[in-house]
Each structure stands twice: as C-alpha cells, then as structure tokens.
Symmetry: C2
Subunit: 216 residues, 2 copies
C-alpha cells in the first residue's frame, strides 16, 4: 500500500467511525455554489483562427471542476447591436465552440438566447468572435447555460438524486427564493458544485461558496 | 350625468353582470409585472444643484403608478471604483433624494448596497451625482429596492393580503422559481403592479407585463 492509498484508507476509516458514532451530521441537502461568469470553450480550429496556427492555451488558474481551467486568453464578441470585450476562454479545448452568457449580456448583444444544457447547441444563436490574430463567424453555440449541479455517483447516492433529474435550490435572505429547473449532472470526474450564472447570483444576492439547500 | 360618468357607470354594470353570470373568472392570484430599471428620485435642492437654480423636470413618459413619470433628465453616478452614466430621473420631486440600483450595478460602482423599502434610507450608501450644471456628494440614499407589489385597498381585499405583508411570487419557465420577500404596499392612489429590478427580470427571464402567481 503506497502513501496515497494509506491516506485514503485512513480517511475512509475516520469517516466510518464518525458516522457510526453519530458525531457526524449527515446533512445531504446542502450544495456549495460556484458562480460562472460569462466565458467560452473553443475547439482547436477556432482557437487557431483566433490566436494563430499551433497556438496553445495558457492556464491562468484551475476552476472548480477537476481538469478545467480559466485560460489567460480572452476574446471579444460582436453583433450588429453591440459588443462585449474580455470574454475569458476556459480550457481544455472541446469538440465544439460554446459561449455561455447571461440574459443581461444577451441584451447587450441584441441576441435572443436559449437556455440549454452544455453541449446541446443545435439551432442556437451565432456571433462574431474576435481574437488577436483573426475573427470567426460562429454559426451556432451561444447559450444561457441551465442551472446545474455537478456531482459524483457517490454524491448522487447520498443526495438521493439521479443524473438528469430536475431539482430546486432554496435561497434565504432579503432577495431570497427558489431556483427551479436545476439539472443534476453525475460523473465520476465531477466535484460537487452548484453552477449558476451572474444574473442568478446578483438577483438572489448569492456569493461564491454559499451553501444552499437542495429540494426535490 | 356627464359622458365620463356615464362610461364608468356602464363599465360598472357590465362588470357586475359578468360576475353575477359567472362568465368572469375571479382570478385573484395573478399580478402584472413592471420591471424597474435603475433610476433616481430627486429632492428640489439636489435637482437645482445638478441642473441649475429654478430648474423643473420635463416629462418624458408616464409610468405605471399614477402621477409618476420618467423625466427626460439623466445624471451620472461616480465612485472611486467606477461610474454609470444615463441614470434617469423619475418625477415628481420627493423630500429626499433616492437612487435605486441593482446588485450588478452596485458591483460596477464598488458599493455594498442594502435591500430597502423605498424611503427607508437611514445609514444607506452615498455616491457622487453629476448633472449638467454641477455635482453633489449624496451622503446616503442609494439602495437596492425590495421586491414589492403596489395595490389599492380594494385589490388587497380581493387578494386577501395586508399592507406590509410579505408574499412570494411564482415564475415558470426554464429559469423559473420563486421570488420571496415581496412586500405588499397598499394605497388608494396605487395601481396593481409587481415591481422587480432588472437583475430579477434577467435571472428569471421575466418580461414587462408578464402575469405571475402570488402565493401567501
């Protein structure tokens, strides 16, 4: 047994002991929040069109989901109604370029965006993307991301929810309420995290890292 | 009986007839929405400091509450963190200057605003206001307005709510949910209207004029 496995084994035993002893409150109804600011994911072809042949993204900092990172690279979005500068690229690259904006940013660009799951891009809006080395006309791929909770299969068991299930999340405070239509997304590579956009964060006065109540 | 009174009398009789016949559904749980964009109310002293001695507001258009109007006049708000131009003045004048912003606008200005009822301004944030003829340092008066429903005493009876009562409003749709902590405001001069700010409208994908369900 190597050092890493030993640590995991000890952690597991401690957790078991705590659970058995009743010292650990099994509070499987709270989820931590990550507020997603506007951003885009690029495919290799679009990255090269915007930043140059053979270009590679530079990691700025890791973000909540394992393996994902905010890149140093930024682009500008342009429509005939307006533009938004400094849209950050998230890495790593994806098979298809996807831009995630809020309703308020959609207004700035005069776009009538649909609320979609990540990756569900058929017949969504397009936009002009401008990078330091060139521009592209994205035909589709601009969405308002749906509210969703990332979790592992173990989390799903603990919270008693299933992949794809719609749940609600309760927010307290002076502008509290309920966020409905929150999609559960289960994957062994995920880390427990409730993703909302900046419009939701501002409307409900939610801060990054807040613990909110999941209701079914 | 003059023409106006005659019309009112006929309308009243038709309504009575519809109610008696059961043809009219008494749906006292829906409220129409008015989305309030950022704005300010000025006292006479501040109006003159910003626009000049003896200045009077110009009506641009009437707004939902009787006697209230959007003025043509606009100002700029300035802090050491940022500025927002084109903040519209609403008329008529008030006893105390009050500025209503959203959380997202508060972020732009680096202000940590409180959610308050209109008029409840003690110990709220200040800001620099710049007009065409001068600037003032507002000591307090910048708030995030609480969610509220204007209604007449007759409406209050129909909806079975009281002045000051907190209710919730349900929103359907892909970014639906519940808006909590909505204050009922009753006054004979009011018109039935649910006032939310642009952050709430954007987060819930609510449009001006939407009919939403009030729940107690």
């Amino acid at each position: 047994m190597d050092k890493h496995d030993l640590k995991k084994e000890i952690a597991k035993l401690v957790m078991q002991e705590l659970k058995t002893s009743g010292l650990l409150i099994n509070e499987y109804n709270k989820v931590p929040v990550s507020v997603s600011a506007r951003h885009l994911h690029l495919c290799k072809e679009d990255l090269e069109a915007l930043f140059g042949k053979g270009y590679e993204l530079t990691v700025e900092k890791e973000i909540s989901q394992p393996g994902q990172y905010a890149a140093k690279e930024k682009v500008t979005l342009i429509t005939d109604k307006g533009k938004i500068e400094n849209i950050r690229v998230l890495g790593p690259l994806r098979n298809k370029t996807q831009i995630e904006l809020t309703k308020s940013e959609a207004r700035t660009l005069g776009l009538n965006l649909e609320v979609r799951n990540s990756g569900d891009l058929a017949n969504t809006s397009g936009v002009t993307i401008k990078g330091p080395k060139g521009s592209i006309e994205l035909k589709e791929g601009v969405i308002i991301a749906d509210r969703h909770i990332h979790m592992t299969p173990e989390d799903a068991e603990n919270y008693d929810v299933k992949n794809g299930q719609k749940v609600s999340v309760v927010v307290n405070g002076k502008k509290g309420g309920v966020l409905s239509n929150v999609t559960i997304r289960v994957n062994p590579r995920y880390k427990l995290d409730f993703h909302i956009d900046t419009d939701d964060a501002n409307a409900f006065l939610i801060q990054n890292g807040d613990l909110l109540e999941l209701v079914k």
